[in-house]
């Protein structure tokens, strides 16, 4: 497998999209969405921006399956850490208070 070269045109496009994303996240932060939607919108934009950086700036789109596996493992373990800890903290109030 030879190395894939990403051309400047792709980098410029991603750069511009990231700038737009930054503008959007600031705009969205001042809108009063119902419930927890503000956090959802902010995180969605952040995840999209991060994904673009990983896929194009970090060349993962053109990397070997091994790299994909390493990243998937990282996200899986991160999910375990969040899921188990939050399930603990969010259910502590369920215990009967003596």
């Amino acid at each position: 497998m030879s190395e894939h070269i990403v051309y400047p045109r792709v980098y410029v496009t991603i750069f511009l999209v990231l700038l737009v994303g930054t503008g959007l996240t600031v705009l969205a932060a001042f809108q009063d969405f119902p419930g927890p939607l503000n956090a959802v919108v902010a995180l969605t934009i952040a995840v999209v921006k991060a994904t673009l950086v990983v896929l194009y700036f970090m060349h993962v789109r053109y990397s070997s399956r091994l790299i994909w596996l390493v990243i998937a493992a990282a996200l899986f373990w991160l999910a375990i850490m969040f899921a188990l800890t939050i399930s603990d903290y969010s259910t502590r109030a369920w215990l009967p208070v003596m």
């Binding site: 070269i5 051309y7 750069f15 503000n38 902010a42 952040a46 070997s64 990282a74 939050i86």
Partner: protein
Amino acid sequence: MPEAIAPTHEAGAHSALQHHFENMEQQREAGTLGMWVFLVTEIMFFGALFLAYTLYRYKYPEAFAAASNHLDLRLGAINTVVLIFSSFTMAMAVYSTQVGKRRNSIICLLLTIVLGLTFLGIKAVEYHDKYRDSLIPGQLIPGRPFNPPVAKPGEEADEHKLHLPPGATVKNVEMFYWIYFAMTGMHALHMIIGVGLLTVLTIMAWRGRFSPEYHAPVEISGLYWHFVDIVWIFLFPLLYLLGRHLEKHLG
């Protein structure tokens, strides 16, 4: 010359090729994989900080919103753009090295350093503002323990004073600032290390050490730099923007 070391590559092999790799391609792949494994540990490290943030944000929502609104949104947004721009110049440095344009790659690396230092400079201004308003948590700063001026209800807006909505206490605002300084501080430390790496790369590029066949150091340092950018992409909305939509209600 020690005779135990047998030559493993033919005379024509690239001088940067280490004896335990078959060829440059395999060596480059191994380096990239190694960097990604390191970044996994970094994801878990920053992940724990993000987890602490999540738990306390849901425990003290009013205090977190009030404390977040007290941060300088303008400086935070400028820094986000600066960092994204630096990621772009870093990517261009990788490209220039890949295609063997030494001059361009040095220019891009230097630009990335300048943008990284700009980010750190703006961060320093922000930290100084927090110092001035006694917002550095705990008793860390001699003579300036955490003791922010708090606006009285109905008082005119004053950017130096904290506006505490019902349910928010100074103690819980301090918790936000612990997390703010821990996360942005660790992020800044990573930036400082990154600027150090870039300086070494610039010197290596200056000496003509890189070529289309050998540029793994630029590439994997680029991975590190982009990772630090990604951390900030999450930090910016979570720290600076979390309570902006409540500003009207919080008063």
